[in-house]
């Protein structure tokens, strides 16, 4: 059995769903060790065990920026234990630790994988060109390989394992490479979390102006949905980055995704095309979003959305 190490970060006192997805996949590939980043607790370690970890290394950087010291400590562990595969998510701290670790040890990194196998060599699959093509890649190296996996590539399924022993890892002083976290700001959010919402209503340039996003918010409210956005309107400063869906933003797979005034750039499609049902409203009948839509409305969002909101509000009496 191959040794597979899985990076798993804490959010609100528990492992993130991304970490649990990776643990679930790792069980198929070998013996699973979790690399847990956060304050840690008995409950959190029990969850890691439930999803298949048989051992845990625990990293708690406190108010140090994690990447420098965690990558340094992890590099020592990797050198002494030589796991075959290290799985990280395509997420902020995951990318930082994986990048520094790989540079430190000269390891090969495969990013943006949607599937991974150990078949002699480590083999990964990647969606490219907005998901229209699938590339298969391999690494010709018997040593540890680092793979970064896109969120929601695998379901998170518990297996009912017992609580593993968590070994606290001492973090070294990284001197000139150290950085400190001196404050934290949480953006206020209404409605459900974007990544976990059953319904997402998202807006793009076709909304015309920042005020246009209010139409998206109104429909979302009537549906109890989360709101999302394209990179274009996030870059334009209409909505915060936390709402961005796509390659550089969040990956979502809701039951229903309603794309309002979104043309469907590759960048965006890769973050939402696996939604169960896709509804698109756009003026341009040639917009690429229509190629992934189950229902495409060729029309003006400023006309369709107010009527849709009214119809939905009438049903719920809101």
């Amino acid at each position: 059995m191959a040794d597979v190490w899985v990076f798993c970060q804490e959010a609100d006192g528990a492992p993130t769903s991304l970490g649990l997805e990776l643990l679930t996949k790792a069980r198929e590939l070998g013996t699973v060790t979790a690399l847990y980043l956060g304050a840690g607790s008995d409950g959190a370690f029990a969850t890691l065990g439930e999803y298949g970890a048989t051992a845990v290394y625990h990293f708690d950087p406190g108010d140090e920026l994690a990447s420098g010291p965690v990558a340094a400590a992890l590099a020592d562990l990797v050198q002494s234990h030589r796991p075959r595969l290290l799985l990280f998510g395509q997420a902020y701290d995951d990318r930082d630790v994986a990048g520094r670790l790989a540079a430190r040890l000269g390891l090969s990194v495969l990013s943006n994988a949607v599937d991974v196998a150990i078949d002699g060599a480590v083999t990964t699959r990647h969606e490219i060109f907005g998901g229209s093509q699938i590339a298969t890649a391999t690494v010709e190296d018997d040593g540890p390989v680092v793979v970064l996996v896109r969120p929601k590539s695998f379901p998170a399924e518990p297996v009912g394992g017992g609580t593993p022993t968590a070994t606290p890892v001492d973090l070294p002083d990284v001197g000139a490479a150290a950085a400190r976290v001196t404050g934290s700001h949480v953006e206020e959010r209404e409605g459900p979390q974007l990544e976990d919402a059953a319904v997402v209503v998202a807006g793009g340039r076709g909304l015309g102006s920042p005020d246009g996003f209010e139409l998206v918010e109104r429909v979302a409210k009537a549906l109890g949905a989360a709101t999302g956005a394209t990179r274009a309107i996030v870059d334009a400063g209409w909505v915060p980055y936390a709402k961005q869906v796509g390659q550089t933003g969040k990956t979502v797979k809701p039951d229903v995704y309603i794309a309002c005034g979104i043309s469907g750039a590759m960048q965006h499609l890769v973050g939402m095309k696996d939604s169960k049902t896709i509804i698109a409203i756009n003026k341009d009948p040639e917009a690429p979003i229509f190629s992934v839509a189950d229902l495409g409305i060729v029309g003006d969002v400023h006309k369709v959305l107010p009527k849709l909101a009214e119809a939905l509000e009438a049903r719920t009496g809101s």
Partner: protein, 252 residues
């Protein structure tokens, strides 16, 4: 302050990308543009350098082509460019790219290195962190705001919930998100001046790097297509079609 900005020339994403048949590497035409992501890095670098009469050096890896993208960044105001163009580096993975960039950056000298969080054409998303590790400095990543003062750098670092405030002593690597600043458009004067600014072209050997390819793309095939949906023209009642579908899939 010596600011180095990592900048990449990429095929214009407005045109469909093509792959070379055997290697599955991206076809790179002579005419490449400055990655839009890097316009933010260049602007941030210019603003920070201008605040204390510093310099901005561009460092880039990839086929130089006709240098349109690099000239674009020079026209914005960068002082000079170093581009590592070597056929032996084609198909390089993130780590080889980072090694090349780190060597070129060391050669130039730096107080602050600025990069985008990921390129638009390769998007491995780990190169700035690798460069920082190779240079032995902190990587302050996903910055939505950057300030420099008194030998240190402070950023707003994007998180899933909002942002953290992170600070470190210089020298450091900072990766910036799009939107960190509003990139300027080159002026006519800037465009004319860019033609005379120094551009060094280097090979891997100039930096003491022996390229090796350990990763390869073995195949590329079309993804299973999603079944085509129903497309209707809005006749004033299209919202009812949406309500009907939402009922059918039981979300209302």
């Amino acid at each position: 302050m010596q600011v180095v900005v990592c900048a990449k020339q990429i095929p214009d994403p407005a045109n469909p990308y093509e792959l070379e048949p055997d290697t599955h590497w991206l076809v790179r035409p002579a005419e490449q543009i400055l990655d839009d992501t890097d316009r933010y890095g260049v602007e941030m670098g210019l603003q920070l350098a201008q605040a204390d009469e510093g310099t901005v050096t561009l460092v880039s890896m990839g086929p130089a082509g006709n240098m349109q993208g690099i000239r674009q960044a020079l026209a914005m105001g960068a002082d000079k460019a170093v581009i590592v163009d070597d056929p032996a580096l084609r198909g390089s993975d993130a780590l080889t790219t980072a090694r090349v960039l780190a060597k070129a950056i060391e050669r130039e000298g730096f107080d602050l290195v600025i990069a985008g969080t990921e390129s638009t054409d390769g998007y491995s998303g780990v190169v700035p962190q690798m460069v920082a590790e190779l240079l032995g400095v902190p990587a302050l990543t996903y910055a939505t705001a950057v300030t420099v003062g008194d030998g240190s750098v402070t950023i707003h670092r994007q998180t899933a919930a909002g942002y953290d405030i992170v600070e470190a002593a210089l020298p450091a690597v900072v990766s910036v998100t799009a939107g960190v600043v509003e990139p300027r458009y080159p002026t006519f004067k800037g465009i004319m001046e860019a033609k005379k600014k120094p551009v060094d072209t280097l090979t891997a050997a100039d930096l003491g790097i022996e390229p090796s390819l350990v990763q390869k793309v073995v195949s590329v095939e079309p993804a299973p297509e999603r079944q085509a949906g129903e497309i209707v023209e809005d006749d004033g009642d299209a919202h009812l079609k949406i309500v009907e579908l939402l009922e059918k899939v039981k979300v209302i």
